[in-house]
């Protein structure tokens, strides 16, 4: 066993990760998304090596830059924008100007993937929809993210995370039975989850393109991705009844719940299978329960489930959290302490594993990021830079990718086709940072290079 963990330690060694290749190297993404839903999707692609060009309006840029929660900024930025937008190229283009559209078409010539999360039909109306960009790049993969999808009677209904949760039924599943209080899935999970699934769908489409050379159009509806998470529809269709809320109890396993321990902490415990139940009963010193309730389906009967959960909760309330976890480890049933934000950022093992990752950025210095979606042994995720001010990569991308000259850039600036940041938090560089000497912002290389 010792030997196995030595093997994995070498396999996933984070100090070697930076020299390893990336799976999406050379994939270019045009990113017309804003807020959380779309940026989550392109953020995952960027972390695994794709070149993501985030196209923003000159001035304010993405509205998320401004929306730090409780008004708490970090170095005058919304801290979330750093984990959402890492490794992206920040280019501003005013799509209302014909010259702006021309720039987008030129970028599209070199793009593999386009992602947008505007209201249904808006991208087409602006001239950057699938039908228009397909003319330029026939093998383009184009993902439209929206709440209800691009077709169907509800398509123009406005939507946010919360409304997607309302329409999918996810709001009514969390909470205690018999109350009229519904908890939504927290932290805009109705944006993060669909965005993550969007990344999976793009990867699948990229694989298909690699095999056949064909691109495609993808219509991803937030509500549909949320319904994919619920067994409630199937339950309803079989029983004719709604699957009611169960508070802190998982109704699909017995015992399975979150409860308070003797030392005032909270522990989640589950012993769903026969093996785990047996282990749990031994730990509890109640081997008699195994003969009384021998099978899973027997224990799941509501009256038995209630009794067993009650017994287990009583047992838990007389033990300390650490002791319960130790017993679980020793006997082999799942148990874990409820951890909060602070514990997540401070637990040693998460830093060791890379579940949270300290990154040193040229502009923002040290910052703690959430880890990647998956640890890959040969082609891992990498962090190259954090969020950048509005228009930071204009010169780098327009000169490097499109070969525009300084004079052409100046003209575009004068005509307000491209632009830079407004003087407001989230959009501008940090006060201490001298942008005039920044080599990327003041990119001096000439055309022909690759960004």
């Amino acid at each position: 066993m010792e030997e196995y963990f030595q093997f994995t330690k070498e396999l996933f060694d984070p100090t070697k990760a930076k020299d390893k290749p990336q799976p999406l190297k050379g994939i270019r993404v045009l990113d017309f998304t804003h807020f959380i839903y779309g940026p989550t999707c392109t953020g995952i692609l960027a972390r695994y090596g794709a070149d993501v060009i985030k196209i923003e309006e000159p001035g304010s840029g993405d509205m998320l830059r401004l929306g730090a929660w409780w008004g708490k900024y970090w170095k005058h930025t919304n801290p979330l924008s750093h984990s959402l937008h890492l490794n992206k190229y920040f280019v501003t283009i005013n799509l209302k100007k014909p010259k702006g559209k021309e720039l987008v078409y030129k970028l599209a010539e070199k793009a593999d993937v386009v992602v947008e999360n505007l209201a249904a039909g808006t991208a087409e109306a602006w001239g950057v929809g699938y039908t228009q960009l397909r003319e330029i790049r026939p093998d383009i993969i184009y993902l439209s993210c929206s709440t209800y999808g691009q077709y169907g009677p509800l398509r123009f209904f406005p939507g946010w995370d919360l409304l997607a949760q309302a329409a999918a039924g996810t709001i009514t599943i969390t909470g205690y039975p018999g109350t009229d209080k519904y908890y939504k899935l927290p932290d805009y999970l109705g944006d993060f989850y669909p965005g993550t699934l969007g990344a999976l769908v793009i990867l699948i489409a990229l694989y298909y393109r690699k095999k056949t050379g064909k691109g495609q159009y993808i219509d991803l509806a937030q509500v549909e991705t949320m319904t994919r998470l619920l067994p409630h529809f199937t339950y309803f269709s079989i029983t004719g009844q709604e699957l009611e809320r169960t508070g802190n109890i998982d109704p699909a396993m017995v015992p399975a719940f979150i409860h308070k321990t003797r030392d005032g902490k909270f522990v989640a415990l589950a012993a769903g299978t026969d093996e785990q139940f047996k282990a749990f009963c031994t730990a509890m010193g109640r081997d008699d329960l195994v003969t009384k309730y021998p099978t899973e389906l027997e224990r799941l009967k509501p009256e038995n489930a209630q009794e067993l959960n009650r017994l287990a909760q009583e047992w838990m309330s007389q033990k300390d959290a650490a002791d319960i976890v130790d017993l679980a480890k020793k006997y082999g049933f799942p148990a874990a302490e409820v951890v909060d934000d602070y514990q997540i950022t401070h637990e040693e093992w998460r830093r060791e594993r890379g579940s949270v990752e300290t990154f040193y950025d040229e502009m923002y210095r040290e910052f703690l990021l959430p880890g990647p979606q998956a640890l890959l042994s040969k082609s891992p995720a990498k962090v190259k830079w954090l969020c950048r001010p509005v228009g930071y990569h204009n010169r780098y991308v327009l000169k490097g990718w499109l070969g525009l000259s300084d004079k052409e850039l100046e003209e575009l600036e004068k005509e307000k086709v491209i632009g830079y940041w407004d003087d407001r938090p989230g959009a501008k560089p940090p006060i201490y940072y001298d942008i005039t000497t920044d080599p990327i912002f003041n990119y001096q290389g000439d055309g022909g290079g690759t960004a």
């Binding site: 963990f5 077709y151 169907g152 519904y182 694989y207 339950y235 489930a305 679980a328 874990a336």
Partner: protein, 448 residues
């Protein structure tokens, strides 16, 4: 399909153009996205799903199966215990509902990895596979001689996805290697449960960390595993090499939703539980109406003003007191309670439909108005799963599919979660008898 026809299609046209042209685009899209006769993206991919009593693995395998991979689920003769994890013990002819839901396009093959013979067959299968998924304790497969270390010797192109509570790498993984996985413990360990529940001024147990009402952690980890697998498939196209993918379910929420790490780091403390409220915005949540509930999102200032107008509450005092987004942040709960009570006083006088109709009328006016900044409060009826799937919209989009199986009976599944013009995901069959494809798998993969 179980749908009740809705009276008349209500169409909001927001960006000009003629209704007929919009209709045409709609029909064009619907025909473009139909899966009929289309190829499948992963038809050349073979996946062996050896997950045991763990839905994260089963869900990851489902995603591959929906995109056309040949997925062979391995289980011992008595079946995977996951078959018997089901809400309140409800089954379809002995098959649990979550298992039934994830039994899409899969092959079921009996193989007992506890026996020498079973492991031999497994190694043989893995030689012909592209992806292996397993959820055994870290190191268990390795000690059986069928871990990534051994399998990659005979099949260097193999992609090996391992899913456990704390991963394959590091001290924690080693210390907790023998602990099995469950959804509720992963919700607790990844930071999800800690932020659902009432503020600490309320009554117990409502103030405790609360479980999200579906297998959220397992679904998130399963999706992350599928992403790892898809990335590896792409990397294999570049390099010709397979690799190992390590998924820890205790990471799922913190890495997918990012906020726990960002908040814990910049605040240097944990966020409190806020009950029905949101962390950044108010009003943003569920409100009572005369006959049910609506979700209202009106966090931005102009949206908030518009909401006050719609509810006939627009008075200077209220408007002044809660004017900007920073006057409405949820760090001052009594103040927010007051505002919510004030709004709910008005919403409870209206039925849900009245309120939604009013908002739509208002937003149509606001969008067409030359004066910008009118704001659009986002309002939607809160549906329960049973009512949500009856909406005509999902019928048009074919988002739910009805099945009628001689053994399993009638049931509905959420399907087609993404619409794709070339290679849409689809459900071709649902059947999950133990060992139903034994002959097929033996003949195709183990006959030589």
């Amino acid at each position: 399909m179980t749908t009740t026809k809705q009276p008349k299609e209500q169409v909001l046209i927001r960006y000009g153009g003629v209704a007929a042209a919009k209709k045409e685009r709609e029909q064009l899209l619907a025909s473009m996205m139909s899966p009929e006769g289309k190829p499948e993206a992963l038809e050349d991919v073979v996946v062996i799903d050896a997950s045991y009593a763990n839905f994260a693995g089963i869900i990851a395998a489902s995603f591959f199966a929906e995109f056309g991979a040949e997925v062979i689920k391995i289980e011992p003769p008595e079946g995977d215990p996951a078959r018997r994890m089901t809400p309140f013990g409800v089954t379809a002819n002995g098959v649990g509902i979550p298992f039934l839901m994830e039994a899409r396009n899969k092959r079921y093959f009996t193989l007992d990895l506890r026996t020498e013979e079973g492991r031999k067959d497994f190694a043989k299968l893995a030689k012909k596979a592209d992806i292996v998924i397993e959820t055994f304790p870290a190191g268990q497969m390795d000690s059986w001689g069928i871990g990534y270390r051994q399998l990659s010797q005979s099949n260097p192109r193999l992609i090996y996805i391992a899913i456990t509570p704390y991963g394959q790498y590091g001290n924690r993984a080693q210390e907790f290697a023998q602990m099995p996985d469950a959804d509720i413990t992963a919700q607790a360990a990844s930071g999800l449960a800690a932020i659902i529940g009432d503020p600490d001024t309320g009554e117990e147990p409502y103030t405790w960390p609360t479980r999200a009402g579906t297998w959220m952690a397992w679904y998130m980890a399963g999706t992350q595993a599928a992403i790892g697998g898809a990335l590896s498939l792409l990397f294999r196209e570049l390099s010709g090499e397979g690799q190992m993918v390590d998924i820890a379910t205790a990471d799922s929420y913190a890495t997918l939703a990012q906020y726990p790490v960002i908040a814990g780091n910049t605040w240097r403390k944990a966020r409190p539980r806020l009950g029905r409220y949101d962390f950044s915005m108010c009003p943003y949540g569920v409100f009572k109406t005369k006959d049910g509930f609506v979700a209202i999102a009106a966090g931005r200032d102009n949206d908030f003003r518009a909401l006050l107008k719609i509810l006939n509450l627009f008075k200077r005092e209220v408007e002044e007191e809660y004017k900007t987004i920073s006057d409405r942040i949820t760090d001052n709960l009594p103040r927010i309670d007051q505002l919510t009570a004030h709004l709910e006083g008005a919403t409870t006088k209206l039925t849900t439909d009245e309120l939604v109709t009013r908002t739509i009328k208002y937003s149509l006016k606001a969008v067409r108005s030359k004066l910008s900044g009118g704001g659009i409060p986002f309002v939607m009826k809160v549906e329960s799963p049973g009512t949500a799937m009856k909406n005509l919209h999902w019928y048009v989009r074919k988002s739910f599919q009805q099945f009628d199986d001689p053994k399993l009976g009638k049931f509905v599944l959420p399907v087609n979660f993404a619409k794709m013009s070339q290679t849409p995901p689809r459900v071709k069959w649902v059947s999950c008898d133990i060992g139903k494809d034994n002959d097929y798998v033996r003949q195709k993969y183990l006959s030589d």
